[in-house]
């Protein structure tokens, strides 16, 4: 399965970069330093890929008239700015023009929507922002259905379909796994027997739904990140922040007396130490989910950056040997990323379970 996935990934990655090289073939004609242009273009492409976007673009290229052509479909933009503003992301023109909606002006600059003014072009806005970051204000109440939101919705639907049909198949086959269940049941059992139960203890049952959902959600999104869809959901800090926040809330809301006792009044140490340890422990409460958030985000982002850079190298090397070597390297890295996708989902689930275990530990002194 992974091989087929990789091959698909690579064939589509090649399509991506074939379009880039085509684009650079155009730009390099009017630029003296073609090499540098290609590098910046790849860099920009990677940066762009890592960010969320307002439309579901599959790929883009520059046509012979030096216009960017985007292949994909627009998504709804939902803003709370003087009332609810809903419009299609096609109005933003991928940051090439200002969108006018109900007398408000919105510009897409560096992947964020800024509120513009009448009669000011997007290039003027960009220039003003270069000099002063606060020249125009960013729309904070932005609830757009972005590419990441679409991917999360799709993953949610996929998971719901997959696991509810799995549950039904159990009812139909009198508890004997068939088909998909044969693949997913061992994972479910692994999470129950090797992650939840040993780390949380006898109270593990109430956390099972959360742990199972978070494992599959993160894993599937990580895997989708490796597909040619070009999404990077788990490499988005807002997403990992949301996940880590839930772990933080569940840990602290279900924490028992012993858990809080260990934080504010560490048993078994002298009183000065107790006072000294309390702020450290309290900091630990925040640091644990923080590390959870950063770890997943950094791993996925780093994986994407490295993988795309190595793929990009193929086009920078103008030699037969260098390009094929970087192709080989990117192939190996893609396989490593498949492992990382599962490993990060596992670690997130595992550490969540561990924190729930701390919250549920009974006093044993």
């Amino acid at each position: 399965m992974s091989k087929a996935l990789n091959m698909k990934f690579f064939s589509l990655a090649l399509v991506f970069f074939a379009s880039i090289s085509f684009a650079t073939a155009n730009t390099s004609s009017d630029s003296s330093d073609g090499e540098k242009d290609l590098k910046t273009e790849i860099n920009e492409y990677i940066q762009h890929h890592l960010q969320d976007s307002y439309d579901f673009s599959l790929y883009s290229y520059t046509n012979s008239e030096h216009e960017h052509v985007y292949i994909g479909f627009p998504l709804p933009v939902i803003l709370w700015d003087n009332g609810l503003q809903v419009f299609s992301s096609s109005k933003l023109h991928h940051g090439d023009a200002i969108a006018e909606v109900n007398g408000n002006y919105y510009a897409l600059i560096h992947g964020k929507i800024y509120k513009g003014e009448a009669g000011v072009s997007i290039d003027q806005m960009k220039e003003a922002l270069e000099h002063d970051h606060h020249a125009y204000h960013k729309i904070m109440n932005d609830f757009s259905i972005t590419k990441s939101v679409v991917m999360m919705l799709l993953t949610g639907l996929l998971m719901f379909w997959l696991f509810s049909s799995l549950a039904k198949s159990y009812a139909k086959n009198k508890g004997i796994p068939t088909g998909f269940a044969r693949i997913f049941e061992p994972i479910v059992l692994y999470i129950r027997d090797d992650i939840a139960e040993p780390n949380i203890g006898p109270n593990y049952k109430k956390y099972m739904s959360y742990l199972l959902t978070i494992f599959f959600f993160v894993w599937f999104l990580n895997l989708f990140g490796l597909t040619p869809l070009g999404v990077n959901v788990t490499g988005n800090i807002a997403v990992t922040f949301g996940l880590a926040l839930l772990t933080f809330l569940i840990t602290n809301l279900t924490g028992n007396k012993n858990y809080w006792g260990h934080i504010f009044w560490m048993p078994g140490v002298p009183v000065p130490m107790k006072i000294l340890l309390a702020p450290i422990e309290l900091l630990g409460v925040i640091i644990k989910p923080f590390a959870l958030m950063i770890r997943l985000w950094a791993n996925m982002s780093a994986g994407h950056i490295v993988l795309m850079s190595i793929i990009g190298l193929m086009f920078i090397f103008h030699s037969w040997l260098g390009s094929s070597l970087s192709f080989l390297l990117s192939f190996v890295l893609a396989i490593l990323e498949l492992l990382v996708a599962a490993l990060q989902a596992y670690i997130f689930t595992m550490l969540s379970a561990l924190y729930f275990g701390f919250a549920n530990e009974e006093a044993h002194h």
Binding site: S144, V149, G156, A171, G175, L189, S209, L212, F241
Partner: protein
Amino acid sequence: MEKLIEEFSFGLFIWQTVIFVGLVLLLKKFAWKPILDAVNEREEGIKGALEAADEARKELQNLNADNEKLIKEARAEREVMIKEARELKEKMIADAKGQAKAEADKLVAQAQETIESEKKAAVADIKKQVAELSIAIAEKVIKEELSNSSKQDQLVSDLVKDIEIN
């Protein structure tokens, strides 16, 4: 760090939280609970079956032990019975032997007695016959002796001679 905060999208965070919490709740109701229940039920079933098998095996073992005990008991009983029978037999034989001996002794004694009495009778008979014969012979001899007067005289004289001593 600033770049991260700059990049943070509040809307995406809200959407992700809403979608994820919704997914947890939906999956809990429609997937995880039924799946875990089914798996649990199956495991309980397997556990129950294993326990039942274990119990059955234990019972069988008990039964076997019982059987063995019974067989042992039966064997012991048989042995006792055989022993008793043997003893009885021996006793009977001994008794029979004793009885037979006594009977035989008795018979022998009787026979001896009979023989003795027969012998006595026979002896008596013989004595009688000898006496009779002797008498007859004596009669004949006497008759012969006393057939003439001379001889009679001689006898009388002899007898008289004997009396003289007295």
